[in-house]
């Protein structure tokens, strides 16, 4: 699991890569929060296009970033979800706190 961070036009794009579980989320989350703290973005986009697996730790990752942004006054977007990740996210009702989009057919079947 790794994350690439790109800050442009008040938007912090977080490109996640690999499998999201309890073991892999902690360092990622620290990276993202540090950048949110220093850049103060208006929008944070969590891009799941290259995420091959996620369990409820992924929900925690999204909910936690939502809380951080809520305090700082930014909005959260989640994009590129595979069918499996979307299934987990929807179960958590995350579509109510963030703008959540499924990926294209390219990664829709992981």
């Amino acid at each position: 699991m790794s994350v690439k961070l790109e800050f442009n036009d008040e938007t912090l794009l977080c490109k996640l890569n690999g499998e999201i579980d309890h073991h892999t989320t902690l360092p990622i989350r620290l990276d993202i929060d540090e950048r949110i703290e220093s850049c103060r973005p208006q929008t944070v986009v969590l891009d799941f296009s290259n995420v091959t697996f996620m369990d409820s730790s992924g929900i925690g990752l999204v909910m936690g970033r939502y809380k951080v942004l809520n305090e700082l006054g930014g909005t959260l977007e989640v994009t590129g979800l595979s069918d499996n990740s979307y299934k987990v996210m929807r179960l958590a009702g995350l579509d109510r706190i963030a703008n959540i989009k499924k990926g294209g057919s390219k990664n829709g079947n992981q």
Binding site: D21, H23, S56, S57, G60, L91, Q110
Partner: protein, 143 residues
Amino acid sequence: MVINEFKMTVDSRSVNESFTRATVSAFASQLDPTVEEINDIKTAVSEAVTNCIVHGYKNSVGRIYIGVKIHNDGMVIITIRDRGCGIADIKKAREPLFTTLGGDRAGLGFSVMESFMDKISVRSTINKGTTITLYKKISGRAK
């Protein structure tokens, strides 16, 4: 009738979360499951094993005992057991959003297991440990 069985024991180290879900799903793949069925199994196993690590053996490293039985009707039964702290109130623990850890834990592990499996059962005794049993009938790609 059980047609195949597999057992493993691993340390409750978080690197083993990916190892155990990959191993269990590889064993179940002999039933020719769909991509979705394999993902459902991976996700539920990941939840149960992570719970042993972060809750059962909170401040220590213990052993996690995993067993998988495959039945001739396509039923896969997975047991995941720890000898950790146990759960005081199982009914409460299974409620969505209930968590004793906070931080970035969502309290949705049991909800994920319940919705991704056909059935789950939880047995637990304080200071003795917890056993989670996951049931999933594989319809398979052929049907």
